[in-house]
Symmetry: C2
């Protein structure tokens, strides 16, 4: 026992944070502890403070610190390992989740002076109130003929770093002024663990207009947005970025005391949840697309070249694994669409209704319902990048059953993934196999079979049910290095610590053929409603928001 070496992966999610204690030799997850954030998602009113406008989503950075303080000691004691046996700590985080701090890294919202100002808090990834800034960023980039938007599928999101920074400047210049640092929460928590500020390449690449070779977007462009933004990178950010798996520093005395780990324990630089899951699934090269399947779906894929794939979320060299271009795409609705269905059709049923519905839906054959849906209940991320699109169901008759609708919705989500797969291939990035992780992948066998049948590709399941945390731990082993019992590179860690389950979903050729016919219908509707031939969804959404707005 005492010769076993461990790493800790810390996963900072939307509602909770978790620590996973992992055996460096084989990736075994020997202990897990979860901390439910006390303030959770702050989207209605500030703790003890004022009401927030719609589309806001904040967090309290203290919840991140509490995660560290509570979960690390818990996993150590649960499994009974000594501090000496833990050679590294690493994290993964939601992104872009960012906050303003003072020069010492103290969040502005911790200071009594700023506490009542919502802009002083953490802006969570799903904070959507910076849409006006995102629109102006895209418009300005188009006008100036900037090339960087190609790396983001030609659209910079309201969820991302400069949209959020600029919203602070627009709406609370005093907060912007007071903020010495504007920083990703992923990098901020590493600062808290190590006592020194670092910035990781991954979030900078995917969220903050950074290119691994060319560096950040020009100050000139930022100044064109707002002259006060021209120096934001130099004054409030950092140009020197650390690659994934690099050691950000050693654990501070204070943090060692709080966690029970040894001072100086290696801490890896920050990482993103979806990205960290890729090595955990055993993926070490191109052609294998990982789907992180939950409320929404993230699609992660490695390529050997940088291609301007339309409608993807981003491509970053070394952004997922070193030496590859890391591509990210996504579907903004997935599990949440099925949750909507259950909430709407079975308001009194518990979550177990999903498996009941799955069993009934599994008895249906492809095409039998005569239904086809567009999976845009929460808008469309890839490949249309349009939050104003909405859901559609077509083909209903008087004998249509709820189970048929449920299955049609699953199929529509699979069609959305097939659209992403075919879009990658159209741009020359191969997708030969699918990998999946996340709650939906583990709990919904029918859904997984339909994904396989629709895409015509085998699907493997990541071995771990907490892939992001495991992936983080793997980078922790790399940060610790071989000398301390870890690994020299992530590629050494992958075959030992990552991997898949035995269960593989294989496509049924007959179903695939029928689904291709249905997918053709989906594609026609997708393009008709999504590419401008009929903007009914946008007009209806405008009408909806105008009708709901206070009447003058």
């Amino acid at each position: 026992m005492s010769d076993r070496r461990f790493v800790i992966g810390l996963d900072f999610g939307t509602e909770s944070g978790r620590a996973v204690l992992v055996d460096v030799a084989n990736g075994a997850e020997v202990a897990t502890d979860v901390y439910q954030y006390a303030d959770g998602v702050i989207d209605r009113k500030l703790p003890g403070g004022k009401k927030l406008p719609p589309d806001w989503a904040l967090q309290n950075p203290n919840d991140y610190l509490e995660t560290v303080r509570r979960t690390i000691p818990a996993v150590l004691s649960t499994f009974g390992v000594t501090a000496d046996q833990v050679i590294g700590v690493s994290i993964d985080f939601t992104a872009c989740t960012m906050l303003p701090t003072d020069s010492a890294g103290q969040p502005l919202c911790f200071a009594p002076r700023w506490r009542a100002n919502p802009h002083a808090w953490v802006k969570l990834w799903k904070h959507h109130a910076a849409q006006p800034e995102a629109d102006k960023i895209n418009e300005t980039a188009r006008r100036r003929g900037e090339s960087w938007p190609q790396r983001y599928g030609d659209k910079y999101s309201s969820e991302w770093f400069f949209s959020k920074v600029w919203q602070i400047l627009d709406e609370a210049p005093e907060v912007y002024q007071a903020a010495d640092r504007m920083i990703e929460a992923a990098d901020w928590i590493i600062w808290q663990l190590t006592g020194q500020e670092t910035r990781n390449l991954c979030t900078a690449g995917y969220k903050a207009m950074h290119d691994t070779r060319a560096g950040f977007v020009s100050n000139d462009f930022l100044g064109a947005l707002d002259p006060r933004l021209a120096d934001v990178i130099d004054r409030k950010m950092m140009r020197g970025l650390s690659p994934l798996g690099a050691c950000a520093g050693g654990l501070t005395e204070e943090m060692a005391k709080a966690t029970g780990l040894r001072p100086g324990t290696a801490v890896a630089v920050g990482n993103v949840d979806a990205h960290a899951a890729v090595p955990a699934a055993g993926i070490a090269g191109p052609g294998k697309m990982l789907m992180i399947m939950g409320t929404s779906i993230c699609h992660m894929l490695l390529g050997t070249e940088k291609k301007p794939v339309a409608g993807m979320c981003g491509v970053v060299e070394d952004g997922i694994l070193p030496s590859f271009f890391g591509y990210e795409a996504g579907q903004s609705g997935a599990g949440d669409i099925l949750a909507w269905f259950v909430r709407t059709f079975y308001p009194k049923a518990g979550v177990r209704i999903h498996s009941t519905l799955e069993k009934q839906a599994a008895k249906l054959r492809p095409g039998e319902s005569g239904l086809v849906a567009l999976d845009w209940w929460n808008g469309n991320r890839s490949v249309l990048v349009d939050t104003t699109l909405s859901g559609m169901l077509l083909g209903a008759t008087l004998d249509t059953t709820p189970v048929e609708i449920y299955r049609a919705m699953i199929e529509s989500i699979a069609f959305g993934t097939r659209t992403i797969v075919e879009n990658f291939e159209k741009y020359g990035i191969a997708v030969n196999e699918l990998y999946a992780c996340g709650g939906m992948a583990e709990k919904n066998p029918l859904l997984m079979q339909i994904f396989s049948d629709v895409t015509g590709r085998p699907i493997k399941l990541a071995r771990s049910s907490q892939s992001s945390a495991l992936g983080a731990a793997m980078f922790g082993a790399v940060a610790a290095g071989a000398a301390r019992g870890g690994y020299t590179t992530i590629y050494e860690a992958i075959p030992r610590m990552g991997g898949t389950k035995n269960k593989v979903y294989h496509p049924n050729a007959k179903n695939h053929k029928i689904y291709t016919l249905l997918f053709n219908e989906y594609t026609t509707l997708h393009d008709y409603f999504g590419r401008g031939a009929n903007d009914a969804m946008k007009r209806l959404r405008t009408m909806k928001s105008q009708t709901r707005a206070p009447q003058s």
Copy 2:
């Protein structure tokens, strides 16, 4: 009391038949009795016999006789009138509902020899298994450049007379051969009441290719369908037709004994349920469209000229009221779409859920849901005449509620009616006011208000909740004639016996404006999916039926 004169209206519906005893002087409905058909709709297997294929819908003519035998004595005794006080009897029937009989009018299905043959039974209006014959009729008419289809919105339905007759010939030539008469049930029951065969102008015009001036379609055309059909009119039907309100004869001794009425009581010629409702609503001229609102909606309208309105169900001179062209259009889904919604979303709720949903839906404003639907759950009758179309819902988001969907479905049904109204006006037939009768009109105030707001027209409600039976009774008073205490023409009867309630729905101008925007969206989708730009609904339906068919 003893100087009051009464007429009896017999209404033969889909599930039951009813008698209404009506005061000739003022149209007061003094007694009603309903007989639930013992065999109801026969759509799964013949009574005591074999299984029926899909799309079949038969009835047992004995249920019609039982209606006469049971309900007439019941209304007489309930109100305590003497046989002398009842001056006339008249009926209305579903159509085209037809049957083969022997030369004496005995239904073939009553004969032991034919009892086990489903083609010997009554083919109910919603028997849809004659689609191949309807297709061949339309194709042949197109090929020969026939002009008669113009009177049917250019499409002859599988529900209608010659489609059904031809199906008998195609599938059971021995039944066709044995049938001396092929007759509408409306005319058959009159035959049973009077002992003599008559045929009414209305069903012949709307269902059997008859024109009030030009007569029936040519034998040549029928022979082109199948040489054996060339003489069907002359050998198994009747060329001499009786106008609505004409006296078909007097009640037979046998029927008088069975009902308690006097032998010789005037019996009017057969009529159709929707058509009979027009005078009952007090309509005596053009510009007032009556909607008979239930499972589906029939739209009845009088015009002064014959115009070839695309997509209507039919136009017949004198077909509703004498001296006018009677136009009929329809929506194949209405109440049944809302019933589907409740069955699907609230499987355990009773029918009272409709009024709960209405109350909640009434709190929403037009446009607030961001939803728009196509009301084609049961196909589209007018103006597209396409049973292969299906329902669609667009605009759903994660905050969409069932109540919003319910309201969107109501709105879509109203949009369907507005499409019909605008189509009539496009062809020069004015629609100034709407009238409504039927269960949905009486029970769904929100729906009625939405219909008024969407169409921008006031809506009056027929006074009677059994308008068809009342209208039938009114024609019975005409058949009896003034000398016996009735009326000389239906126009004398209308102001006295028909009419509307005090409640009128007036359009809200602001809502009408918003609904016009939504109606534009509806129309774009209506034309896109309904007029050939995207035949997804047809392809999905084909896929559905192929998938459901037994696998080879």
